[in-house]
Symmetry: C2
Subunit: 358 residues, 2 copies
Amino acid sequence: MKRRNFIAAAGAATLLGACGQKQECGDSAGASAQQETIKWNMVTTWPPGFQGLGTGAEHLASLIGELSNGRLKVKVFGAGELVPALQVFDEVSSGSVQMGHGAAYYWKGKLPAASFFSSVPFGLNAQEMNGWLLKGGGLELWQELYAPFNLVPMPAGNTDVQMAGWFNKEINSIDDLKGLKMRIPGLGGEVLKRAGGNPELIAGGEIFSALELGRIDAAEFVGPYNDLAFGFYKAAKYYYYPGWQEPGTTLEAIVNKQALESLPQDLQEIVKTACLIANLDMLAEYTEKNNQALNILVEKHGVQVKRLPQEVLDHLESISEKLVEEQGQANELSKRIYASYKDFKQKANAWKVVSQSL
Amino acid sequence: MKRRNFIAAAGAATLLGACGQKQECGDSAGASAQQETIKWNMVTTWPPGFQGLGTGAEHLASLIGELSNGRLKVKVFGAGELVPALQVFDEVSSGSVQMGHGAAYYWKGKLPAASFFSSVPFGLNAQEMNGWLLKGGGLELWQELYAPFNLVPMPAGNTDVQMAGWFNKEINSIDDLKGLKMRIPGLGGEVLKRAGGNPELIAGGEIFSALELGRIDAAEFVGPYNDLAFGFYKAAKYYYYPGWQEPGTTLEAIVNKQALESLPQDLQEIVKTACLIANLDMLAEYTEKNNQALNILVEKHGVQVKRLPQEVLDHLESISEKLVEEQGQANELSKRIYASYKDFKQKANAWKVVSQSL
C-alpha cells in the first residue's frame, strides 16, 4: 500500500483528482476545460535521465506539455523511482499510472509476440519498423495485442541498429561462439545459447567491470552513442558489427485506455502525436550521435571495428528464424502478427537491396 | 491583380481577416481566442492530390486541424490552383499565402545552397537527412538561409531514395552515358550533362509517351510507388538502381514568418510538430508502398531490375562531388552549409558501413 500512496502523492493531481468526473475535462469546447491542467505520471523502464532513452521519455513529456499549452502536464519517473522497471506494463495497465515508456520485448514473458513491436534478431531496421507500424498494419496488431490489458501502445523512439558488441575474444568461426560468455539479454541471448554460447544477464552498470575483470568474454549494450559514454572501449579489444540481434529497436509509450479516453479529443491527438515526434526525434538523435561517437571511438580511442564473418552471421540467422517463428505461435493473434511481420520483412528486404546499395 | 483577389477570396477568412489584430488571436489563455478559427492557405508544388507528395501536404493540413482542435484550418491548393508550382516560395515569402509545401531544390536558381535541404547526388539518405536537420545543425542553417525571405522552413516529408530510372538502353560502361537522352532534372541532370549525356526537362505527365515514342532513352521520376502508378514499366525495358541522384529527398513546408508569429505559442508548436509528423509519415508511407510496388513490378509485370555498374557509379560520384561543392560556394553562408553537410556525410558514411550491413 505504501507505494500506491506514493504514486498518488507524486501525481499531485491525477486525472481523476484534477477533473473529478470525466465530463468536466472532457468538454473541449468549454472555456473552463481549456484552462484546466490535467496532471499525468509517466513511469519508465530507464534509469533516471539515461542518455537517449530516458531523455527521450522526458522529451516526450515536454512535448505533450508544449503542444497542449500546459493543459496536460506529464511528470516522468525513472526506473525504481515510482515502480521497478519491469512493473511499468502492469502499473499502467491497472491505471495506477497513466502512462509508461519502455520497450515491448520486456513483456515477452507475458506476451511472446510483443517482441515484434520492439526488435527481433535479423528483423526490420528502424525505417522499416516505422513503415510496418504506421502503414503496414503493425500498429493495429500491436493495439489488438495490448487491448486486453487496457493499454494503448504507440511507437515513441528508436535506437537505430544496435552493435553486435564488445569482445575480448575474436570471432572467426561458428566454433568461437561455443562457450562464449556474453552479456546479451532477450532473444539475442537465446540465439547465442542455441549456438552453444553462454548468455548472461548483467545490468548495464555492471557490464564494464564484468568485461574488465574477464568474468565475461563479450557484451552487447546499445550502439556507439551509449557505449562510448559507458567507456566499454577501455575494457574490450574489439567492437563487432553488424548488430544482428536488434536491427532497429522501437521504444514504446503505453497509455492507460481510460486515462486516454478521458482526455478531450485534441489532447488525445496531442498525446499520440507527441509519441510519434519522440519516435522521429530519438532516431535522429541516435543517427547523429552514433555517427559522432563511432568517429571518436575509432579516431581518438583507436577501437578496432570488426565485421562478424558471414558464416557466423548465416548461422545466427538460421537459428534466429526458427526462434522468431516460435514467438509468433502462441495463439491466433500471435500468428497473424508473425505473418504480417514476415510478409513485410520479405518485401522490405527486396527494396533494401535496391535502395540502400549506393 | 486578379490572382491576388482570388487568393483573398479563397482564403475565406485569412489570419488577419479572422482576428483583426494579433492580440485577439494571440491570447491563447482567453476563452474567445480558443474558439476563434484561424484560416490559412497552403500552396504546393504538386499536382492536386498527387500520390505521396500532394497527399502528404493534405495530411499535414489535416494534422494541423486535428491537433489544434479546429482552431487553425489549413486549405491546400495543388500547383496552379492558386499559384504556379515555381511561385510557391515567392508567394509565401510575400505573405499573400501563409504556408507552402514543396522541395528546397526548386529554389536553387535563387539559392544554390538550398539543394542541400532536399537532396544532392550521392548525398545523405532519408534517415541521415533527419539526423543532420534535426540534430546536426542542418535545420538552423536552413532557417538562416530562408530568413531574408521572411520564411520559416521545416522538414515535412521524405520520398526515401529515388530510383536511377527507367531505361531502354543498357548501361554497361561510362561510354553508354554519352549522348544518352534522359529525363532527369536538377543537379542529377547537370551531372549527366558533364558525363556527356543529354538531360531533358519533361513534365511528369509527359514522361510515359516520351519513353514510349523513343524521344528519350531513359527517365528518372521517383521510386516504385509513384513509378508503378505512372505505368513506366510498359514503356521501358530496364529499371536501374541505385538512385544516386536523390538518395533521400526531404520535402519542405515553408511558413510566412509573420503569419507564424501571429499565432498563439501552442499553435506555433502545433504547426512545427505537424510538419515533423508529416515528415515521418511520408517516409513510412514510401517505405511501405515502395516495398509493395517493387514486388508488383517484379512479380506481376516481370520488370528487369538492374544495378548500374560500379565504374559508372564511381564516375558519376566524382562528377557529383565537384558539382555539389560548387553549390556551396556562393557566399559565406553557403560555405558553412556545405561544410556542415560534408562533415555530417563523412561520419554518416562510416556509421552506414557498420549499421546497414546485415
